[in-house]
């Protein structure tokens, strides 16, 4: 069942230097119980895409013409996310059907309130639980994510938590409202590998238990390989490749995905050279015409890649990429 459908999402920002395109014609689906990995380097538009799902991009964001985001939680009417105009209607999505966890858990908790107060507050806003029931549920959630002595931890402040515990508490808080969709924006990036492995295990168990969909944003292909069912690769606001995680990592079709994999140090061959992708990511104000990747692509064909935008080509039934090299010559 499709939980989230994004069609032709285009997001631009009005800035002093001009209009900047952050997301350009992005389409994807996410099913309930599925983890979709959204991969890309800084500036690729992955966070803007995620924030669009809750209209959190700020006042200077312009959502382009035909773009449509539809959220269909089980047993509820579908929500046209970009059609929501008033702040007071946003509660349906923000913290209601969608929860989000962030990279830096220290910055996401208020330092002067106890963790428990913050968990109860959001439950009181989004559910009709009594204060006591909200407290009981919060303690239960803290226990569920593996925080021992949750009754005591409930009354502590976030500075008393370690990094891994903060991220667990944030996950507990995000899941306590039973969202249909969880957006996880680089949730393990600030953590040590040993703690990262614990958080990844936890998130996979929670999907199995709660059945929500997860949009998992990261720049780390290894984390994607270990968590996601499907993966979408972004570059400069474009989705360049999507598919089942096995297909994309084993048989990458887009030159950018292949470049990312070649640049990544891997442990099975320590002597393999690290091959960087040539050049730098172009600035937001000088987006290349044609295929956005052609300025750094070794396979770019003169007169084609710099002129026209490649269309989405089917590699297999569940694997798609946008590159002229894949298109069958007419």
């Amino acid at each position: 069942m499709t939980l989230l459908s994004v069609r032709d999402l285009t997001v631009q920002f009005q800035t002093d230097e001009g209009v900047v395109t952050a997301v350009d014609g992005v389409s994807f689906d996410l099913a309930a119980g599925e983890i979709l990995g959204l991969v890309g380097e800084s500036g690729s538009g992955k966070s803007v895409t995620a924030k669009s799902l809750m209209q959190l991009n700020g006042g200077n964001a312009i959502y382009g013409g035909p773009g449509k985001i539809t959220l269909s939680p089980r047993g509820q009417d579908p929500v046209d996310v970009l059609g929501l105009r008033r702040e007071r209607h946003m509660g349906v999505i923000r913290g209601g059907a969608i929860s989000m966890i962030f990279q830096e858990p220290m910055a996401s908790f208020a330092p002067a309130l106890t963790v428990g107060q913050q968990m109860v507050e959001q439950l009181r806003i989004h559910t009709d639980l009594s204060r006591r029931a909200a407290r009981d549920l919060s303690v239960e959630m803290l226990t569920r994510v593996g925080i021992s002595d949750a009754v005591k931890r409930f009354d502590q402040y976030v500075f008393e938590f370690s990094g891994g515990m903060r991220q667990r508490a944030m996950i507990a808080m995000a899941l306590s409202t039973k969202p249909a969709l969880l957006i996880a924006d680089e949730p393990t990036t600030a953590l040590d590998v040993t703690i990262q492995a614990q958080v990844i295990d936890l998130m996979k168990n929670l999907v199995a238990e709660f059945g929500m969909g997860i949009l998992f944003i990261t720049h780390d292909l290894g984390v994607i390989a270990q968590t996601a069912d499907r993966v979408a690769v972004m570059y400069l606001g474009k989705l360049v490749e999507t598919g089942a995680v096995r297909d994309v990592l084993r048989h990458p079709a887009h030159p950018y995905t292949r470049g990312l994999l070649a640049a990544l140090p891997q442990l099975d061959d320590l002597t393999a050279p690290l091959i960087p992708i040539p050049g730098d990511i172009p600035g937001p104000l000088d987006r290349p015409a044609g295929c956005v990747f052609h300025t750094r692509c070794a396979q770019a064909v003169k007169g084609i890649c710099g002129m026209t935008v490649p269309s989405v080509t089917q590699v297999t039934a569940t694997h798609h990429a946008s590159c002229f090299a894949l298109e069958v010559p007419a």
Binding site: A197, A263, L274
Partner: protein, 331 residues
């Protein structure tokens, strides 16, 4: 075996905690009894979780952290320094031989100086050149070696991407022709496509300029691809040290094994290794008794709680500090 450039013996870096629940005069031992040889011309990796003391060790060697106990010796062809006792002119001399590249290329460069002035500043501060022309020549030379576009020397850092900024930081660190460079998480803030480029640059600079690197990183795959020797740290101590291929093929310390098994594999079907560390790294202000790793160690026994393990030499040139490494080694 080449002679060590840096010899660290029983090094301790202690910070007073003041009056706390632990009683007056308590100290936080950021480093406790660390011994290490960094061979001349090596690319020496230092790995461990946050709070393990990697950065403190790098800084202590540069005399940028207070050395409480122990000794650090630095011997390149020209001079021999007893780092803990350096002061005055000798310390200035040491500063041009031992340099640091920082993690965040956005925070490390002054936004109000041109790239040329940023790279030239160490030369001017240390008085290494006698004329502006000489300074300019040195700046252009190192900029070229770091593959910077000479046209860019007149610009300000804001005009550059993360990868280019890190090249500027590297040029600034190398302009005084050091023989030893500490690179502290120098690629951690970069995107993978750029990270590979900077790693390749560091390796080629090491060869061309005859440098010795101490490469501090939390990313074991990066270390595996760049370094030739690796030391693994846990709570202010080195628990294992070995040549890189040996360490990754035959990790002997249970902590090293746990770290390696926690790296997410690119193969979605990779067997999920059972070795999960539970809990977090304990506070260095109150480290566990005996072996410091025993609270999280999957193979800890009673002896580990009371008796601190000694560093033992192992075949292949490495060392390990674990009572039971021989018995717990997987077949």
């Amino acid at each position: 075996m080449t002679a060590p450039l840096v010899q660290v013996r029983a090094l301790g870096v202690h910070y007073p905690l003041g009056r706390t629940v632990l009683g007056r005069g308590a100290v936080l031992k950021a480093l406790d009894n660390v011994s290490l040889d960094i061979p001349k011309g090596s690319f020496f990796g230092l790995v461990g979780e946050s709070g393990s003391g990697k950065t403190t060790l790098g800084r202590a060697i540069l005399k940028a952290a207070p050395i409480s106990t122990g000794e650090i010796r630095f011997d390149d062809e020209e001079v021999s320094h007893d780092v803990a006792r350096l002061r005055g002119r000798a310390l200035k001399d040491y500063r041009k031989r031992a340099q640091l590249i920082f993690q965040d290329p956005y925070a490390a460069l002054s936004p109000r100086m041109t790239v040329r002035d940023i790279i030239a500043e160490p030369l001017e501060v240390m008085g290494l050149t006698s004329s502006r022309m000489e300074t300019d020549a040195r700046v252009r030379d190192i900029a070229r070696k770091c593959r910077l576009n000479l046209e860019h020397l007149r610009r300000y850092p804001h005009a550059f991407s993360g990868g280019q900024r890190q090249r500027i930081s590297i040029a600034r660190a190398l302009v005084s022709t050091p023989s030893f460079v500490v690179a502290d998480e120098s690629v951690a803030a970069l995107d993978v496509s750029i990270q590979a480029d900077i790693l390749n640059l560091l390796k080629s600079l090491q060869r061309d300029l005859d440098l010795t690197f101490l490469f501090i990183s939390h990313d074991l795959s990066v270390v595996a691809h760049t370094c030739d020797q690796v030391a693994v740290m846990y709570l202010g101590q080195i628990v294992e040290q070995a040549p890189v291929a040996d360490l990754f093929a035959r990790p002997r310390h249970p902590y090293t094994r746990a770290l390696l098994s926690a790296i997410p594999s690119l193969d979605p079907d990779a067997a999920r290794t059972a070795q999960r560390l539970t809990g977090d790294i304990p506070s260095p202000a109150d480290p566990p008794s005996g072996c410091r790793f025993h609270t999280r160690c999957p193979v800890a026994r009673d002896r580990c709680k009371t008796e601190e393990p000694k560093m033992e030499d192992v075949s292949g040139g490495g060392t390990v500090a674990c009572h039971f490494w021989k018995e717990t080694l997987p077949a």
